[in-house]
């Protein structure tokens, strides 16, 4: 009788399943397979939506298209996802978190070209060329809100270098239209700073796309989506921070994680009106009895509740902070966070291939990480 389980009911059950269970459900029978594929939301409700996955890719393209590595905090496991379906070597730029997609740029050649891919469905889509060719623009992803349907999003490309100088324009790619359009200006001062210091991930908060310049002293650049107005926001301890990254906060405000070395680190939140930064978390010097380096090589990505700290080399483990308390509850910042040490090496994701990966990772090849919600449904790239 359950062979005829109504598609609606089955889809409702699937909406509570994490990606791992969904992948297995696809192998159960044809009916279930079709049901997983037909879900435009890609199963992102309830627990399935609660915790994003960490995905890491070689920051510099390595020969022979190595896989990317995903880690799920809930499953406490690494998985390797082959990228051999991509026609070109790529570098990870950002995640389109609401669509389960990765935004990458082609690694070869000087021409700047973006590509979207879903390593779970093994799909990819090459985006059209920008209207004004340029190299190294700042790239920002703005998720659209389309509850229930296939996710929509915008990709901003700001500034960048041209043959003789800096490109003072801004272009935006609309996922629904599939084309770039001109969207205003990137004043020279911003274009220079975003271009020269290779931009970090963008974070959207309160209708503003924020980027951080990735050289000291750190500084945050903001682009208000509705008006196209640019602004600069000062960074706390800007000249002392050895590492820093922007993160989205559950409150909808902008967050910043950074430290001055020797394992010290803080999580700040930007107050309304961009008036000041408030400390909302402290990264302890010792995590589960181990001191973590916290030097200039520290990389950081964060989601609504999680902060991942890792070195350029993943093989040395990661520190993950999870905000457990309510921001409205009183108490010390230290007590609102749970910090864990993730010992497992990503290379153990592929049995028998530890050595091959260790060569890539152990040789100092840096990784770049993003957080995203996996989607097993191909609808997001159709």
């Amino acid at each position: 009788m359950w062979d005829r389980l109504p598609l609606d009911l089955l889809a409702h059950i699937f909406s509570f399943l994490p990606p791992l269970s969904l992948a297995r459900a696809m192998a159960v029978c044809g009916h279930w397979h079709a049901c997983v594929l037909s879900d435009p939301s890609g199963g992102r409700r309830g627990r399935a939506a609660s915790c994003p996955w960490f995905l890491a890719m070689h920051a510099r393209p390595v020969a022979a298209k190595p896989p990317c590595y995903v880690y799920s905090l809930e499953l406490r496991r690494w998985h390797a996802l082959p990228l051999d379906f991509l026609p070109f070597p790529v570098r990870l730029v950002a995640s389109v978190a609401n669509a389960g997609l990765l935004l990458c740029r082609l690694a070869a050649g000087s021409r700047f070209r973006l590509l979207l891919c879903n390593p779970f469905t093994r799909q990819h889509k090459l985006l059209p060329d920008l209207i004004v060719p340029r190299s190294n623009p700042a790239v920002g992803v703005v998720p659209g809100d389309a509850p229930g349907g296939a996710a929509s999003f915008q990709i901003y490309a700001a500034g960048g270098a041209t043959g003789g100088g800096y490109e003072p324009t801004l272009e935006v790619y609309e996922s629904r239209a599939g084309v770039w359009r001109r969207a205003g200006a990137t004043p020279a001062g911003f274009a220079v700073r975003l271009t020269v210091w290779t931009p970090n991930e963008s974070v959207v908060a309160g209708g503003v796309v924020y980027w951080m310049t990735s050289a000291r002293a750190y500084s945050v650049m903001g682009l208000e989506v509705a008006t196209g107005a640019w602004r600069e926001v000062k960074v706390p301890l800007a000249d002392r921070l050895e590492w820093a990254a922007l993160v989205g906060r559950r409150s909808g405000r902008l967050g910043l994680v950074g430290g001055c070395g020797q394992g010290e680190g803080w999580v700040w939140e930007l107050t309304e009106g961009e008036q000041s930064w408030v400390v909302v978390g402290v990264v302890p010097e010792e995590v589960e009895g181990r001191k973590w380096a916290g030097g200039a090589a520290t990389r950081c990505v964060g989601g609504d509740r999680e902060v991942y700290l890792y070195g350029g080399e993943l093989g040395k483990g990661m520190v993950v902070g999870r905000e457990v308390g309510d921001s409205s509850s009183s108490g010390h910042e230290e007590e609102r966070w749970e910090w864990k040490w993730i010992e497992e090496y990503c290379c153990s994701a592929i049995p028998g291939r530890e050595k091959a990966v260790a060569v890539g990772g152990g040789g100092g090849a840096p990784f770049k990480g993003v957080l995203f919600h996996p989607s097993l449904s191909p609808s997001c790239l159709r």
């Binding site: 059950i13 509570f16 992948a23 297995r24 192998a27 159960v28």
Partner: protein, 203 residues
């Protein structure tokens, strides 16, 4: 059972003139304890349950039936057994005013009739009830899933589907087939290809 035409206008009508359709004007509306309107649900095995009208509205199926004027006499639900219906009625009562599923009733709330549905944060007690509600064996859970699907009640659907997801979450493909009594309709080659495609999930 009609569908699709039970928009805001008909709900409004219902609120202004509760359970009026099909009733002669001199008959009093059905009143339960405290003067609340109640309807009677009858299971396939002839058990009858009095349900607060507002609680029954959590089910789109019951709502449509009530709006079509079927709420006067006992409403027959032949595909639900007494024990299942008893559980469902209790859940509707516990979920009264739960903002997670009360959205659809907010429109009518403006009329001031559904005061009890003013959203209240689900209490730990309600969450505990939900957990207890689905702490049943497989066959009983399947019965509740069928009931949820038939009644189209969002809260009941969420609680039962979440439990079904919980049950299969860490199962192997073979265990899932066994649990749901499903027939593997793949050829060995097709299944191997699917496992290969999502190799990471089978390590």
């Amino acid at each position: 059972m009609s569908s699709g035409d039970s928009g805001p206008s008909s709900s409004k009508q219902l609120v202004q003139q509760p359970a009026a359709a099909g009733r002669s004007p001199n008959q009093p509306p059905l009143l339960g304890a405290g003067g609340r309107k109640v309807i009677v649900l009858k299971s396939g095995d002839e058990e009858e349950f009095e349900v607060d009208l507002l609680d029954a509205m959590q089910s789109r199926t019951l709502r449509r039936a009530i709006e079509d004027g079927c709420g006067d006499g006992p409403m027959p639900l032949p595909n639900l057994t007494g024990p299942v219906l008893a559980k469902v009625v209790e859940l509707f009562r516990r979920h009264r005013g739960d903002p997670r599923w009360a959205d659809e009733l907010q429109e009518t709330e403006k009329e001031g009739m559904f005061k009890d549905y003013a959203p209240q944060k689900p209490t730990a007690e309600v969450k505990g009830f939900d957990r207890e509600f689905v702490s049943v064996d497989r066959d009983a859970l399947f019965d509740l899933l069928r009931a949820a699907n038939f009644l189209e009640a969002p809260g009941l659907l969420d609680v039962t589907c979440d439990a079904a997801a919980d049950a299969v979450m860490n199962m192997t493909v073979e265990e899932v087939r066994e649990y749901f009594g499903l027939v593997n309709d793949y050829t060995p080659e097709e299944e191997a290809a699917l496992r290969k495609q999502h190799e990471w999930a089978f390590q």
